[in-house]
Amino acid sequence: MRPLSAQRSVAGKATLIIGLVLLAIQFVAIIFAPWIAPYSPETADPINALQEPSLIHFFGTDVSGMDIFSRVIFATRINLLISVTAVAIAFVIGVPLGLAIGYYKGWGSSLAMRFFDFIQSFPVFVLGMVLVSVMGQEIWNVAIVLAVLFTPVFARLIRAEVLSLRDRPFIAAARCSGATDSAIMFQHILPNALTPAIVQISISIGMAILLTAGLSFVGAGVRMPTPEWGLMVSNGAQQMILGIWWVALFPGLAIVFSVLTFALLGDAAKQLFDPQTRSSS
């Protein structure tokens, strides 16, 4: 058994390192965007519209002549900001909610679960489009929409853990030692229930990036001229049939790159947190 778990943990570490390197590249892009990007991301230059990739415009220019390379770099800020914010909100609300729903059984928790079913049974895009069009196409609104979508995910994960933990003998022992309900929930159950939710953070960020891009693509996300990957792909898609491939391709690759990063990190977290691999250490 030991060699197998050792192998898995080595694989987990390799995945983690690759994921962290990719993440670091994105951090560099976020922090140093103004210095890396040769042009302003939102300045149109109609004379130089639809230029092919060259040494002057690495990724070419779009229909209004904006430098795609600069926009892809700056969009890292927007996309990650939206995704991380959305997942952070979902985590902060979903975890205590799941804890309470799992710990206190009753009509309240049943009602909450049915409400989650309601949210999750909607097609994501329909719900996203409805909410964004009601609230307005602002960056923060997109983040809130995603947070609404992800909160049930975290709440459910935590609830499932809590349900199996709440009847464990150490909880009864804690109660005999005078632990109050909140002490049992936050000091005893939560630390033992958090692992799957932590793994889920990374996976959700990846999904949030895709959804942000997707919402923008269908026109329910942020608006021009904000540099955002999905929006850029959407703009480029119209020119694709004319053989102008670069407008859509590069932001598309950026999406792949970013989603891959968080998928890898999530995978690594899963392997490193796996009790079977961890017990050998």
């Binding site: 022992a173 005999c176 630390p191």
Partner: protein
């Protein structure tokens, strides 16, 4: 056929190692031989290599383990020279292994009769109908009451004892010559354990099998085996007849230590109740306590605790004994209000507790603590020992950080855990240490009354003796009043002043410990006492007279 003088099984100097060569071999130079009809008991503590030995004999070593030295011969043939084909016939054919927890060995979605019938068809090539008939006959042979009906049952519908019988029946189908029982009765109630062992040994003698009983219960070995082998750290340190082991005393110092630890501690218990007689005020007075469980699909609730009444005075210890499902633990949980009682009264130091609010009950909690059954699962795996022991302190007066730390160290000293272990996590402790942490938690706020739920179960022989010593010491030094919930009758004798016997939620008999042990009035109590296997040489027939089936 085998010559009767020739050993059926010969284990010659085997060592078993794993691919990790930096570790010493898991088994080292183990040798013994076994004749037809002989029963050998292998005894050792956790990690001594007992199970590995059984796996080596049946040629099913786990992982990348292999026999690095020595050989195993069956009927004069070395296993190592067999072809893969022969080996397959050998496993389960000539040698059968019966493990712990029979239910997990049965397929949960197939009727047990069908499972037996399948093995029969595979081994004897008979048709479906005959196989079914034969399996019912086998059920009868292994003492399953109402075999026709039982054959249609699924494994989860059988009790642990029944499932073990099914597994024994299955093991006997291929007519093995050697039977290995690896802790086959672990976790079964004493009376059931007795029935299963009787069956196993009876079949072994009847069919002339060589039987190896692997266990950590010396009483079992004394009652059923011809010879005993003591294992320690992968070595067979002693191998002798049971008679000379018990009469002349073990030769190896470790065997001596083990035997001494396993024997009932000096009895009767030397601590006297503080003030015998009725004039002392009762500390805990339970009257007609009832706890019902509502079962889905049934209108009739289960009476888990049915009009239980008991009284414990200051400095006294009462033992609540009974088999699993008798309601002992439920009673304990009602006392500390982990479960809400349905009716009756629990008076603690004169105060009725059932009517208290949860907040008011906190005062009672400080004075009434509980030590939980399974040592590991009762400790939060993510807390350090220091924090675990400190947790109950918040029930008492607020303490400064320093005072808290000092109290924790004091408690660790009290229960005999090295102070260096204060910062480790529960999984880094041994089972005995985990149990001690549980005791330290219960004692943290100087309670007047402690409930010990199965304090000696699932512990190795020496650890069990240490825990008994610890509890005795606490009783004497602190004048602790206690309720013991246990099915380990040996420990009751050395720990409790009074005994109450519970069955089906009712207390059927109670009185002073020695009186109950010497002169039990109820047939059920007698049965429980008989099921305890004493560690002494049996002078009568080598085999126990099979006990009458115990019907609920």
């Amino acid at each position: 056929m085998t010559n009767t003088n020739e050993p059926l099984l010969e284990v010659r100097n085997i060592s078993v190692g794993f691919s990790d060569r930096s570790m010493p071999p898991a088994l080292q130079e183990v040798s013994f031989s076994l004749k037809k009809g002989e029963i050998l008991g292998i005894v050792g503590e956790t990690g001594a290599g007992k199970s590995l030995l059984a796996r080596a004999i049946i040629d099913m070593l786990p992982g990348d383990g292999c026999i690095v030295d020595g050989e195993i011969r069956v009927n004069g043939h070395a296993i190592s020279t067999m072809t893969p084909q022969q080996r397959r016939g050998y496993r389960g054919g000539e040698v059968a292994l019966i493990g712990t927890n029979a239910k997990s060995l049965l397929d949960p979605v197939v009727k047990v009769g069908e499972q037996i019938a399948r093995v029969l068809r595979a081994h004897r090539g008979i048709n479906k109908k005959d196989a079914w008939q034969e399996s019912i006959r086998l059920f009868e042979q292994v003492g399953i009451v109402n075999p026709e009906k039982r054959a249609h049952a699924y494994p989860h519908e059988l009790s642990g004892g029944m499932a073990q019988r099914v597994v024994i029946a299955m093991a006997l189908i291929a007519q093995p010559k050697i039977l290995l029982a690896d802790d086959a009765t672990l976790g079964l109630d004493a009376t059931i354990q007795l029935q299963v062992l009787d069956l196993l040994v009876e079949k072994g003698r009847e069919l002339g099998l060589a039987v190896v009983l692997i266990t950590h219960d010396l009483g079992m070995v004394a009652s059923y085996c011809d010879r005993v082998g003591i294992m320690k750290a992968g070595r067979l340190v002693e191998l002798t007849t049971i008679r000379s082991f018990l009469n002349d005393g073990p030769q190896h110092p470790y065997s001596r230590e083990l035997l001494e630890a396993a024997r009932v501690r000096p009895l009767p218990m030397d601590g006297q109740p503080a003030q015998p007689g009725a004039e002392a005020a009762p500390l805990l007075e339970v009257t007609n306590l009832v706890k019902l469980f509502h079962v889905e699909g049934s209108t009739e609730p289960v009476r888990a605790v049915d009009h239980v009444s008991l009284t414990i005075r200051k400095g006294e210890t009462l033992a609540l004994v009974g088999e699993s499902g008798s309601g002992k633990t439920t009673t304990g949980q009602c006392l500390v209000r982990l479960l809400q009682s349905d009716s009756g009264s629990i008076r603690f130091d004169g105060q009725e507790t059932l009517t208290l609010s949860d907040k008011q009950f906190r005062n009672v909690r400080r004075r009434m603590q509980m030590v939980f059954q399974e040592p590991y699962v009762a400790l939060n795996p993510r807390w350090r020992v220091r924090d675990l022991v400190a947790e109950p302190l918040k029930l008492g007066a607020p303490l400064t950080r320093a005072a808290k730390q000092a109290r924790v160290l004091e408690l660790l000293d009290l229960v005999g855990i090295s102070r260096a272990k204060a910062d480790v996590y529960p999984h880094e402790l041994t089972a005995g240490e985990q149990k001690r942490v549980g005791v330290a938690r219960a004692l943290a706020v100087n309670p007047d009354f402690v409930i010990f739920d199965e304090p000696t179960t699932a512990l190795d022989i020496r650890v069990r003796a240490q825990i008994i010593d610890l509890v005795r010491d606490l009783q004497k030094r602190m004048g602790l009043s206690a309720l013991f919930i246990t099915h380990d009758l040996n420990s009751v004798r050395s720990l409790a002043h009074y005994v109450a016997v519970m069955r089906h939620g009712k207390i059927i008999e109670q009185g002073p410990t020695e009186e109950i042990f010497a002169n039990p009035k109820e047939a059920y109590t007698r049965k429980l006492l008989e099921a305890e296997l004493p560690i002494e040489v049996r002078e009568e027939a080598p085999m126990r007279a099979p006990q009458a089936e115990l019907r609920a």
